[in-house]
Symmetry: C2
Subunit: 239 residues, 2 copies
């Protein structure tokens, strides 16, 4: 213990997180090699001057992150392969604009290839799902809504046609980063219907290409579709 109030650490945010960050850092710096045992909880209690509750909270974080593995009766060990570490799009180091642009670009990379795969593997049911999503989006547009959710559902239907669950999962993961970036909500109300109609046409081009099994055309369509969305978002708000 450092003092009666508590803290060798500063304590602004939760103590457990601060301890977790420090341990994470030491692990990634190689201070604790893969496979090595971390100091015991009681040792960490002394080192950090916090209670065992906090230490356990910190180690719990590292465990969820797949960085360490705890064994009852033995100790806590750094994972040999950190392959279980999750992927995050942390926007800490980037400003909002770059964050959205890079996330969109990541999505574009994925989807252009996806749609090519989808074109070679789609079934009749997949095509039907895509049209169904487009119909729902159209209905949303007619109802005066933006239809962003339905738009995304279409892209998910394309991803599903790849028959690769990881691809669909990844697009689902990217979803929340993309949807709020859509510039439609800032768009001139006058121009909205025309924009929505052009969206629909782009989508239809993509579906047709997938239906025909034309991977190149599908890829080109998707690239053009997303690139236009990217441009609208990045430079031309309120045009």
């Amino acid at each position: 213990m450092v003092d009666s109030k508590g803290l060798a650490l500063g304590m602004r945010p939760k103590l457990g997180e601060r301890v977790a960050d420090q341990l994470r850092e030491r692990i990634q710096k190689g201070d604790f090699a893969p496979g090595a045992q971390l100091p015991t909880e009681s040792a960490l209690v002394e080192q950090f001057g916090v209670s065992r509750t906090v230490i356990r909270e910190a180690i719990s974080s590292l465990r969820v992150d797949g960085l360490v593995k705890a064994h009852q009766g033995r100790g806590v060990f750094v994972c040999e392969d950190i392959s279980q570490q999750p992927f995050r799009l942390c926007s800490k180091h980037l400003n909002e604009k770059d964050h959205i642009e890079q996330a969109m670009e990541l999505r574009m990379c994925m989807e252009v290839s996806n749609v090519e795969l989808a074109a070679s593997r789609r079934t009749e049911a997949d095509i039907k799902d895509m049209y169904a999503a487009l119909d729902k989006q159209h209905a949303a547009h007619l109802a005066g809504e933006l239809g962003q959710i339905e738009d995304f559902q279409f892209h998910l239907a394309v991803a599903a046609a790849t028959k690769n669950s990881y691809i669909a999962d990844f697009l689902r993961f990217l979803g929340p980063f993309i949807i709020p970036a859509n510039a439609m909500q800032h768009m001139d109300q006058q121009k909205l219907p025309a924009y929505q109609e052009s969206l629909r046409q782009e989508h239809l081009v993509i579906v047709e290409a997938i239906k025909e099994g034309n991977a190149n055309a599908a890829g080109d369509g998707m690239r053009a579709h997303l690139r236009r969305g990217l441009q609208i978002n990045s430079g031309e708000r309120n045009v």
Copy 2:
């Protein structure tokens, strides 16, 4: 409390994880809507019949996963946007073969598009980095090593040339899923040098295309390169 031994839950793995899984399920099922408050710790203690320690451990997991946010003095709330949820390739539902294939395919989708971006944005320094990685790989081959790490370094250098940190991060994330899948370690020692030389040629084709800014050629080269790796891994072990 259910009985003196402790368990309304079964308890084989850690109690905290079981509670966390149940809560996660209820959240994703919509039982607790986004923004809604979870039952208080003491309420959960009664519901699950476990101690506060376990409940807090479970909530800690959900917090690290970005599913909930705890506020001192107010309660624990389901996140409005779950956009902070990390992405994982969990192989639970897939057998090992499908897992590797789908992960490889995900990588292929990414890299084919990456390399096209890289071809349009690369600087002299990027090209230099790529050649440096290839040289190291060649040296490793000559030293009788597999050079898988160096191989991956080359691909990271390509990703870096996109100037999009998320793309590079994502490839780094995929790395551990890919590297152990490489079939080189199962390959006939006689054929290894020839295989390594062909790898080198494929890599060189890609670099040349990037250098010339030829996105199509770079994409084709990468696609061919990775597709061959996929085939070797999937069907032709120990040939």
